[in-house]
């Protein structure tokens, strides 16, 4: 899996491309921005066309890491099929989910100002 990473200040935007499954989930779990407690992370799922239990676990792992460090992980861009999987597992209740990256960054920048 290819994960494109860009950053804006303390916000890292991770954009995985392809299937988020048993093969590729470790790449999310081990990503440096996910592990870095000072980073806020957007996981942009626009180019993810498939997610299974392992992929969902990696996304929750990212959330758990950030919460333990008082950080933030938000999701954006998921297609209809992915959204259904998040909803039937109730995982959507754990995250702030945005349709697009731009409003996601606005949201995080607002949070950043509130924290300083």
């Amino acid at each position: 899996m290819i994960i494109t990473e860009t950053s804006k200040g303390d916000i890292a935007i991770l954009a995985p491309d392809g299937k988020l499954d048993h093969d590729s989930a470790p790449e999310i779990r081990q990503n440096r921005s996910i592990i870095d407690p000072d980073k806020m992370v957007v996981i942009d799922l626009e180019k993810v066309d498939f997610i299974d239990d392992s992929g969902l676990g990696a996304i929750i792992c990212a959330l758990r890491n950030k919460r333990n460090a008082n950080g933030v992980t938000v999701l954006s861009g998921m297609n209809h099929r992915l959204r259904i999987i998040f909803e039937i597992t109730n995982i959507h209740k754990l995250f702030n989910i945005f349709d697009d990256v731009a409003p996601t960054i606005e949201y995080l920048e607002t949070r950043q100002i509130e924290r300083t």
Binding site: K19, D21, H22, D23, F50, D52, D53, S54, L56, G57, A58, I60, C61, L63, R64, R67, R81, I85, I88, T89, N90, I91, K93, L94
Partner: protein
């Protein structure tokens, strides 16, 4: 008239994608003539994901020393139902497991829940030493 296709694969996670993509292709082939493009994609995706979860469970629950374990994936099409059965020789299990407690941030355990939600019918049976998980959905 019914059609049966059987794959016998090594019980290795490397073969999960082969099993799931075969499921997706078969589902898509059957659905394309009878459904809209969107419906056909949803039907194929449901089988791709269900087979991924079932195959992964078979592999991850195999005994550690079961280096020669095999997983059988059988596709049965009886209009209008497509049924996929995943068979392994692991310990017996139940499909009546509770959904993971989301508030505890679980990092696994969603597989059977996803299968139950995506398929019309899910049946588990034990046949001798074999677990057989059958998952059906109608066109």
């Amino acid at each position: 008239m019914s059609s049966i296709i059987t794959l016998t694969l090594p019980g290795d996670i490397l073969f999960a994608r082969l099993a799931s993509q075969t499921a997706s292709s078969i589902a898509r082939l059957l659905a394309d003539d009878q459904q809209t493009e969107t419906e056909s994609c949803v039907f194929a995706h449901a089988f791709e994901l269900a087979v991924t979860e079932a195959f992964t469970n078979s592999v991850t629950h195999a005994p550690e020393n079961a280096t020669s374990a095999m997983v059988t994936v059988t596709f049965l099409f009886e209009q209008p139902h497509l049924t996929v059965s995943i068979s392994d020789a692991n310990e017996p299990f139940t499909i009546e497991t509770p959904a993971p407690d989301i508030e505890s941030f679980p990092e696994n355990g969603f597989g059977l829940l996803i299968i139950r939600k995506l398929m019309d019918r899910v049946i588990y049976r034990r046949d001798g030493e074999w677990n057989i998980l059958s998952m059906s959905k109608s066109l």
